[in-house]
Amino acid sequence: MIDIHEVDVTFGRGTPMETRALIGATLHIPAGRFVTVIGSNGAGKSTLLNVVTGDAPMERGRLVIDGVDVTRWPPARRAGMVARVFQDPMAGTCEGLSIEENMALAASRGHRRGLAKALGHNRRIAFAEQLATLGLGLENRLQDRMGLLSGGQRQAVSLLMATLAGTRILLLDEHTAALDPKISEFVLDLTRRIVAEHHLTVLMVTHSMRHALDCGDRTIMMHEGRIVFDVEGGERAGLDVPDLLQLFARVRGRELDDDTLLLG
């Protein structure tokens, strides 16, 4: 479904701030799989998502989604295939627009936007029904400004919005990181439910090792622009948070060894 092949991304090339955000990143995700991504700050997790959405400029490599080479597609065009929920609840929705207007925007993702009315009677009814499934009472607040909602409510609506246009790929960029633990669990449960219901292919970046193991069926770890390990199935089922931490330490240790070699 998603085929990331030998992708390099460098920010600020030729400047003192040059950062190699991705180095030869290769990842193949079959349809319907749920992959979680962990790694320290600056490891390239978000860049990996940005490569899929087209927000990060690829220097080298190829990106194939659903059998189509989209390497040269602009972000707006890729949005027809890929939905995304951001870490910042403010980023994924328009606070100045109403809930129903935000949903109408999402429902037309990947379609030509013409001069037909964005909000008709039928659409409003459908939106209210979908909002009702969240169990937050938002179905009665269709015309409220998005800005009036709490962070958790906005993330829940963002998740719902991701499903409206029938896209089959969902990218989650630490979408629970800005929420308090209880709300975070609610949003995560909602995520699992929506993913199962719509048979989505998911790439989820998370800061929480716990979430990385509890969600989905495959976990990758990134470090300094590379994918340093990739586990799934039985091997992954046997892992716990301390094991992950240990793996992480080993990855960093290997790098230290390399340095020692170099310096020695």
């Binding site: 949005a79 403010m90 994924g92 929705t93 109403s98 925007l105 037309s108 379609h111 964005a118």
Partner: protein, 299 residues
């Protein structure tokens, strides 16, 4: 104030109501502080007047003026979107260039069309006096513009334009081609302003290259006044508020100029308007949502 002066204030208020709609579209909807209007207003006047003097049908002349305004908006959008020039500067460049362009179009700094056939002629032929016909014509044009604009902003495309101005990152993530939206919005905004210029030339009987000075500030004053008077989230009402703000502003100006004890003269208008807009941005609770755009633009 005589009733003719009052009708005159309403007429000019309605004409500048179109400017207010254009400014609403650029500043409020797209969050694009656009000063092109100081050039596109006289551009509309110049194109319409020049064509009318050359005996082109006045409706066709007005339509061409509108297209010229749209082109001016596209130039500003191109400088900003394609060549990454700061929006404010991009619009100033277009505005300055238009000063020369407008003189080229007219062949001289001003053109009189006082005796020519204009889009006002059909109304005058019905034996309606000029001082009624002018506000009536402006009123018809404004009503049509408000209804069409409200419908447009409520469409799928218009909604995408509003998202582009409010949260471009989110808009792109929802598959909105934000640059297309900026091109379209800027073209539409300046087309409305040029339409106002074309109307102004035909109701006043002349086009003058200096008539654009301060257009943006007058438009902003109208939008601010409208938003202060009518707080609303309903688009149609927000658009009506812009026009209403423009008319009330003109009536207030006419009253102030008529009040001899104030000692104001017509040329003080720009100073008073600038003070009004500045005050609206300084005083808390006035200015409404426009504050953020204009203060952000200043940073």
């Amino acid at each position: 104030m005589s009733s003719i002066a009052f009708l005159g204030a309403i007429e000019i208020g309605l004409v500048y109501g179109l400017v207010a709609l254009g400014v609403f579209l650029s500043f409020r909807v797209l969050s694009f502080p656009d000063l092109t209007v100081d050039g596109s207003f006289p551009l509309g006047a110049a194109v319409a007047a020049t064509l009318i003097v050359n005996e082109v049908d006045p409706f066709l002349a007005t339509a061409v003026a509108v297209l010229a305004g749209a082109a001016a908006g596209l130039v500003t959008a191109l400088l900003n979107v394609r060549f990454k020039i700061l929006h404010l500067l991009a619009s100033i460049l277009t505005m300055i260039a238009l000063f020369s362009v407008n003189i080229r179009i007219m062949g001289r700094p001003n053109v009189a069309i006082i005796n020519d056939e204009t889009i006002l002629t059909p109304l005058l032929d019905l034996d309606i006096a000029g001082y009624y016909a002018k506000p009536l014509l402006a009123g018809i044009v404004v009503v049509v513009a408000v209804v069409l604009l409200a419908r447009f902003l409520g469409s799928e495309f218009g909604l995408a334009m509003r998202a582009t101005g409010a949260n471009p990152r989110m808009a792109r993530a929802q598959g909105v081609a934000t640059s297309t939206q900026i091109y379209t919005g800027m073209a539409l905004s300046n087309a409305l302003v040029a339409l106002a210029g074309a109307l102004f030339a035909q109701t006043n009987g002349f086009a003058d290259v200096t008539s654009g000075v301060g257009t943006i500030v007058v438009g902003l004053a109208a939008v601010i006044l409208g938003e202060t008077l009518l707080r609303t989230r309903v688009l149609l009402i927000a658009l009506i508020a812009c026009v209403l703000g423009s008319v009330i502003y003109r009536i207030a100006v006419a009253l102030a100029l008529n009040a001899d004890f104030l000692g104001l003269q017509a040329s003080d208008l720009n100073l008073v308007t600038a003070l009004l807009v500045a005050l609206a941005l300084i005083l808390p609770g006035v200015g409404g949502p426009l504050r953020s755009v204009m203060r952000r633009a200043g940073r």
